[in-house]
């Protein structure tokens, strides 16, 4: 797993993808911070993440779209899947590399806390629960994006399909009760942003993450017999 993790992380660092993701995420977040918080002198760190969830829904596919689609398109999946590494270790290596990039982006958001701290007194416990919730929200998104990437060899289709799934999760619950369990934005907002770590929300995010990682592994395993 570590070999794949290292290589993937290197790809994120050596190609523009990692920088574009972090840069775009922070740029939009900074604009939101300036317009919504800084100029209205509203000392509230967690308020920023109401918009943060929407931003990440559109920027996260940048990270996940290439995870398996690129390998398939370039034929390098032959190198990966004919090596003695298990599919599980390959999937986890790729997953954790994307998680690391998201973690780096999230650490950068701490600067908003320090700026607010300079001018006022934002709540540290709420800031920490917000960051924890946002992290869990993101990792479930990565797992979903990775699964979508594993079923197509076109990166653009992978990105748009991931955004489509995210939008369905965002607006679906308002249309039908079928999507209620996947209403992650709501669970994030009503739990972590209020400073509460609700077990139900934590379990939901972790369950979603595990479910889509398993689906990716099963899908890749299944494809061996279909290829």
């Amino acid at each position: 797993m570590f070999a794949v993790y290292k290589k993937e992380l290197k790809t994120y660092v050596c190609t523009p993808i990692g920088y574009v993701f972090i840069g775009l995420f922070l740029l939009i977040l900074s604009l939101m911070f300036y317009v919504g918080i800084f100029s209205s002198q509203y000392i509230n760190f967690e308020y920023l993440f109401y918009d943060g969830t929407t931003i990440i829904l559109f920027t996260l596919p940048l990270l996940t779209m290439r995870l398996f689609s690129e390998e398939r398109k370039n034929g390098t999946d032959q190198l990966l899947f004919t090596s003695p590494r298990s599919i599980t270790s390959i999937v986890l290596g790729k997953f954790f590399a994307a998680v690391t990039i998201v973690l780096i982006a999230e650490l950068f958001t701490l600067m908003y806390f320090f700026i607010l701290n300079y001018f006022g007194n934002p709540s540290l416990p709420i800031a920490l629960t917000t960051l924890l919730g946002f992290f869990l929200f993101c990792i479930s998104g990565i797992a979903i994006g990775m699964f979508v990437s594993s079923i197509t060899e076109n990166q653009i289709i992978s990105a748009f399909a991931t955004i489509g799934v995210f939008l369905l999760m965002l607006f679906g619950p308002q249309l039908t009760n079928l999507f209620k369990p996947f209403y992650t934005v709501y669970f994030f907002q009503e739990s972590f942003l209020t400073g509460l770590v609700k077990l139900k929300s934590v379990i939901l995010f972790i369950a979603l993450t595990v479910l889509f990682i398993l689906l990716t592994i099963i899908g890749l395993q299944k494809r061996k017999s279909l290829k």
Binding site: A3, K7, T11, P84, K224
Partner: protein
């Protein structure tokens, strides 16, 4: 050692490979020949575990690729067709990543990477990004990725495509150097390469194995009657009289009249016997000077063409029929087995009954003799 046993790969109603069987022994270099779409790459993908067979088993150094994929794959160095590379890595990084994927221990990794880079002549470009390399170099990088960590089995899909003649020779020499302690399976369209490198050749066509033999055996088995290529100085134009005097000659065909008025002919015979002595004698009588005479050798290319051409193209109906017949055969075999089992069981029950009966009788006899003894004692 690679053992492919009754392997079939089927996509819906299309058979990519059908019931193939072959074995490659340790230290052998075997060539895999076939036309485009014959099933070469599919077979290689099956052996490397990239895809799973619909039926059959594959053993790599004794490990079943389906049951123990990790152990089986650890034995293989695979160079896929089309040289897929990670273009954002340098040559050294790529080879190192391949070594990591192949579980080469950390202590040995550096040496293994150095050896692979040296063997493939990539020292000068080892710090270049793979995307900036020429096709020939990319091919070498892919080859270095396959040989890093010294795997026991090498599977090379078109290893010399895109290389210049010097590089082709170098790569061939490199492959030859693996002969002693490696098993190598090479697919190639270049037949001369296969006949130079390989001890045995597997010819596949339309997903089925057509022949497994040495190149020379294939050449001789598929060669027909003797043909001779002869260059003569025949001022009287009397060479055609040979046909009347030597009965084995079927046809004498003028190939070329050269600048110095000498002529090259192809003589086709009706037998496999060498008639060069007879021709020599007859030419001498007819005052024809022979400047050159050689047997027209059957090449591996000829053998390949003869083996794969005119093979029947099965229609879907025929494929279904064959499948149906195979299934019927399997059902029959199963029924036979069941019948045999039933008979064995009946036999076993009979024997058991007989044994018990014999035991009972023996007991009865023993009891009787005891009673007789007692009666005798009482008296």
């Amino acid at each position: 050692m690679i053992k492919v046993k009754n392997v079939t790969k089927k996509y819906d109603n299309f058979y990519a490979v059908r019931n193939i069987n072959f074995e490659i022994k340790d230290g052998e270099i075997v060539g895999f020949l076939g036309r485009n779409g014959a099933g070469k790459t599919t077979t290689m993908n099956l052996i490397t575990g990239f895809i799973e067979p619909t039926e059959g088993e594959i053993f790599v150094n004794g490990f079943n690729i389906d049951i123990k994929p990790k152990k089986a794959k650890a034995q293989i160095g695979y160079m896929p067709e089309g040289t897929p590379l990670y273009t954002d890595l340098t040559v050294r990084e790529f080879v190192n990543y391949m070594a990591e994927l192949k579980l080469v221990p950390k202590k040995e990794r550096r040496t293994a990477v150095d050896e692979a880079i040296k063997a493939t002549g990539l020292e000068k470009v080892q710090d270049n990004l793979t995307r900036n390399l020429s096709r020939g170099y990319k091919q070498r990088v892919s080859f270095a990725g396959a040989i890093v960590g010294n795997p026991k089995i090498l599977i090379l899909d078109e290893p010399t495509v895109g290389l210049d003649p010097k590089q082709v020779i170098e790569i061939r020499e490199l492959i030859k150097s693996f002969r002693k302690d490696h098993t190598v399976l090479i697919s190639s369209h270049i037949l001369s390469e296969i006949s130079q490198l390989c001890e045995r050749v597997i010819i596949i066509d339309k997903g089925e194995i057509v022949a497994v033999d040495t190149p020379s055996n294939l050449e001789s088995k598929t060669s027909g009657n003797l043909c001779l290529d002869i260059v003569v100085d025949d001022l009287n134009n009397s060479i055609m009289t040979l046909k009347d005097n030597i009965e084995e000659i079927e046809e004498i065909k003028l190939l070329e009249t050269k600048e110095d008025s000498t002529k090259e002919y192809i003589i086709t015979t009706s037998s496999t016997n060498d008639i060069r002595k007879k021709i020599f004698a007859e030419c001498s009588k007819a005052e024809i000077s022979i400047l050159e005479m050689k047997k027209y050798e059957n090449s591996l290319e000829d053998a390949f063409i003869k083996l794969v051409e005119d093979r029947p193209e099965y229609s879907q109906k025929e494929v279904n029929k064959m499948q149906y017949e195979k299934e019927i055969e399997e059902i029959r075999a199963e029924m036979d087995n069941k019948r045999l089992e039933k008979e064995n069981r009946k036999q076993a029950i009979k024997e058991e009954k007989a044994r018990k009966k014999a035991e009972k009788e023996a007991k009865k006899d023993a009891k009787k003799s005891e009673e007789n003894n007692e009666e005798g004692g009482n008296k």
